[in-house]
């Protein structure tokens, strides 16, 4: 996986995370997950997925959305989608 593109994706994802989870002030790193962000419930997860689809012009698969364990998985999926 290309570290430069992954860092660029993380930077863009961070913008979305800061916007939707506006009460979260901790670090946004690939190991971030819902357990660490009180606002990150199932509804917020759906909204996060839609915001990321729009920001990156990609389409997640339903199976991907259900299997993401942390932000690193999301970033990997975005990178894969951009390469398709």
């Amino acid at each position: 996986m290309n570290e430069i593109s992954r860092d660029a994706i993380l930077a863009d994802v961070t913008e979305v995370i800061r916007d939707i989870f506006d009460e979260y002030e901790g670090p946004v790193t690939p190991d971030l997950n819902a357990a660490k962000v009180p606002q990150w419930d199932s509804l917020a997860h759906v909204q996060l997925m839609v915001l990321l689809e729009k920001k990156f012009g990609i389409r997640f698969k339903m199976s991907e959305i259900q299997s993401f364990k942390n932000l690193g998985d999301v970033i990997a999926s975005i990178e894969n989608a951009q390469e398709r």
Binding site: V46, E53, R59, F60, M62, I65
Partner: protein, 144 residues
């Protein structure tokens, strides 16, 4: 056949005094812009302005009965009020689906509310919906 990008729905409504009184009771909003004709005229309006909440109630009608329909759950509404709606004026809501994420089960729409040529409000909505109600031919995400 389920919901697709580009689908649209319309709804017309006219607000009368009885509904204004009902909403005033429910909301306990007694602001003069909705209750005092003289106050409104002094500020350049024709008469009292229909409560924005009543307008939203009619948007709720569209969302709950037409698009996305009875199985949808609203997750976001935004509305920009442009010009006042007065009692007795017939308003028309036009709502169009702009984005669907089949993977996330999300339907987004834009709406415009007119009274004749006058634009009353514009905005957008987001709802979650059981994925089987999204058209099978829809790709994982579509947008206008």
């Amino acid at each position: 056949m389920g919901i697709r990008v580009g689908d649209n729905a319309q709804h017309e409504f006219t607000v009368e005094v009885e509904e204004m009184k009902w909403f005033q009771t429910v909301s306990r909003d007694h602001s003069r812009i909705h209750t005092d004709s003289d106050f409104c005229r002094e500020r350049g309006f024709d008469d009292v302005i229909v409560y924005g909440g009543i307008v939203l109630a009619h948007l709720s009608h569209v969302l709950g009965t037409k698009i996305p329909g009875k199985n949808g759950t609203s997750t976001r509404w935004t509305i920009n009020y442009r010009q006042p709606l007065y009692l007795g004026e017939t308003a028309r809501i036009e709502l169009t689906v702009t984005y669907i994420s089949k993977a996330a089960g999300v339907v987004e729409s834009k709406f415009k509310i007119n009274a004749g040529a006058k634009v009353i409000a514009t905005g957008d909505t987001q709802s979650i919906l059981p994925v089987e109600e999204i058209d099978r031919s829809t790709s994982d995400a579509e947008n206008l």
